[in-house]
């Protein structure tokens, strides 16, 4: 499903060059729940941006569903982000001028779904995260945990096969963070492939496969067979 081969991401050049990713190879199969763990500056976010087609590697190959992403045009990349991937960001990244429902509808809008069907799908996604009655509110009227659930609903709305979560619990208190994590686990049980980025070892401890990154390299990749 996701196949990174010898990915480098280098900023600057010569003496001052920074190797954000220093030769990463990673394979994620369909239906897996992988957490990428590393400290701040380890390169884990860069790694996710490349998996999410938001950033382009300096060198290396990235196959998504067998297609080489590096040869794709801007429009094809937009298509991949729209159909194949769903993002959950630490800072929620909701558009403040749009209502909750309109925010959730955005990926469907770019997919070309008709207005009334869009509303239906968006409300269904909001129902799944328990916010079915908040569609007409604006993001600023919701709590942090609720906003994060909205962003999860937005990631779910288009039913993408892969969800990328970048520190989804980072801005939340431990209780709401717990809820978000449980929800992601449930999604994974329903068949969605999930890649979760975190610096929090207590979260990583609950996830079956943990990939540790340090200084742009993978230092360990372990699968805990006892975890579901």
């Amino acid at each position: 499903m996701i196949e990174l081969k010898n990915i480098y991401k280098i900023y600057g050049d010569g003496e001052g060059e920074i190797r954000a990713l220093d030769g990463i190879s990673l394979h994620v199969s369909k239906g897996e729940f992988v957490s990428i763990v590393g400290s701040s500056g380890s390169g884990k976010s860069t790694c996710m941006n490349i998996i999410g087609c938001l950033d382009i590697p300096t060198s290396g190959e990235y196959y998504l569903n067998g297609t080489d992403v590096s040869t794709m045009t801007e429009n094809e990349l937009a298509h991949v982000r729209n159909r194949e991937l769903g993002f959950i960001f630490q800072q929620y990244n909701l558009i403040p001028k749009l209502t909750v429902r309109e925010n959730v509808e955005l990926p469907l809008l770019y997919k070309g779904v008709k207005a009334h069907e869009r509303t239906e799908l968006a409300l269904h996604a909001l129902d799944r995260v328990g916010l079915g009655d908040r569609g007409d509110k604006y993001p600023s009227q919701l709590s942090g945990g609720q906003q994060q659930r909205v962003s999860i609903a937005r990631a779910l709305a288009g039913e993408p096969p892969v969800i990328l979560a970048d520190e989804p619990t980072g801005a939340l208190d431990s209780k709401t963070g717990r809820e978000v994590l449980d929800f992601l686990k449930q999604l994974n049980r329903e068949g969605t492939t999930i890649v979760l980025i975190t610096h929090d070892n207590s979260i990583a401890a609950e996830i079956k496969r943990v990939v540790r990154i340090q200084d742009g390299r993978i230092v360990s990749d372990e699968v805990k067979e006892d975890l579901q």
Partner: protein, 391 residues
């Protein structure tokens, strides 16, 4: 994302910052309104001038003959024959003999008449004058040299307190009978077109001590053939005098043409000046759109991460710019029409020009496209991750 969605998004975004949207539109509003007001006022001026000339007769051709020493000359009969021979061009003609410095007297009241002319029975028709009381000069008056005259309302009011019909009047000492009074032309004041006495042309030279210059007024069949009719008369007179200095032929419709040309140029120049403010308005839109793109960098990043293509982003911003400039254009049209009406309150004639409205509106729409394109292109090229990280 289709145009309808982009449009509703644009409306939403504009409504989100009303003050800014309004100020952005202001340049376009003023520009469009200025173009419309200027063009309608110039149009109104043109209409005033042309109406004035047309009331003097757009079909009127004036011929003045100076003659050449004792050489050949033209008689009134020659001129009448010219009309009779060319009924497809010429309808009628009248001699127009000015009696300079005429005075009119009733008993002991007297006054200087600003215009005393000797004419035939076609005069009132050619000049578009209406005889309100009595009758005009008739064929028999000229033929039999009857001392009958028609006077304007100024003279009727001044010398007869309005009861002039059938009264006697002394013109340069000779007694005439007033057989007709003209309808009021201006406001019955001295030296206006109501200060006039019309006498049979056959008597006019007797009223004057000095030499009277021969002039004729022709009436062409229609405005369209006025130029041909003028040429016809011109050719005839050239045949008689073989010298163009001996006579002069002029016609109203060619004067109206040149007035039209002149005002059209004026209108173009003024509209061009107003058009500059449309351009400035367009730059204002571009400026605000650039600010808006910078402000919404993060929003653009979010949209891109959710699958917006460069085209989606670009159309969003271009549609927003077009919406801004079109709303500005519509408000400008309303202001322009309102302003033109306001101008009429100050006794100006304003004729609203539909082409000017359409032109200035389409220019403002094009300004939206042209000046929205650059910021929109900039927005669409943003790298998603850089845009997402932007604070």
């Amino acid at each position: 994302m289709n145009i309808k969605q982009a449009f509703s998004l644009a409306i939403k975004s504009l409504a989100g910052s009303k003050m800014r949207s309004f100020l952005t539109m202001l340049g376009i509003i003023i520009g469009v309104a200025a173009v419309i007001i200027i063009v309608s006022i110039v149009n109104g001026m043109t209409k005033d001038i042309i109406d004035e000339f047309e009331s003097m007769g757009a079909t009127t051709i004036t011929v003045s003959v100076r003659g050449r020493g004792g050489n050949r000359s033209v008689s009134i009969d020659d001129m009448q024959n010219l009309v009779d021979d060319n009924p497809e061009y010429l309808k009628s003609m009248t001699p127009n003999i000015t009696v300079p410095g005429a005075t009119a007297k009733n008993g002991s009241d007297n006054l200087d008449v600003s215009s005393c002319v000797g004419v035939n029975e076609y005069y009132t028709d050619i000049k578009g004058l209406v005889v309100e009381q009595g009758r005009g000069i008739e064929y028999v008056d000229c033929e039999a040299r009857l001392r009958n005259c028609v006077i304007g309302t100024y003279i009727a009011n001044e010398l007869y307190q309005g009861q002039a019909l059938g009264q006697q009047i002394r013109i340069n000492g000779q007694i005439y009978t007033i057989v007709g009074i003209l309808e009021e032309q201006a406001d019955s004041t001295e030296a206006s077109s109501d200060d006039i006495i019309i006498v049979p042309y056959t008597l006019a030279s007797r009223l004057s001590n000095s030499f009277t210059m021969g002039s004729y007024t022709f009436n062409a069949v229609s405005k369209e053939v006025a130029d041909e009719a003028q040429e016809l008369i011109d050719d005839y007179l050239l045949g008689v005098f073989s010298n163009t200095n001996a006579y002069n032929v002029s016609n109203m419709s060619s004067m109206i043409d040149s007035i039209n040309e002149m005002t059209a140029t004026m209108s173009l120049v003024l509209a061009g000046v107003a058009g500059v403010s449309l351009l400035v308005g367009g730059i204002g839109i571009m400026n605000i759109m650039l600010v808006s793109v910078t402000e919404r960098t993060r929003e653009i990043g979010i949209r891109k991460s959710l699958g917006a293509t460069p085209w989606d982003i670009m159309s969003q911003f271009v549609v927003e710019a077009i919406t801004t400039s079109c709303i500005g254009g519509v408000l400008g049209i309303l202001l322009g029409i309102g302003g033109s009406y306001a101008a009429t309150l100050f006794d100006m004639t304003a004729v609203i020009s539909v082409p000017a409205i359409l032109l200035s509106f389409s220019i403002s729409a094009m300004i939206g496209i042209a000046f929205g394109y650059f910021p929109a292109k900039k927005a669409s090229k943003l790298n998603p991750i850089d845009a997402l990280r932007y604070d």
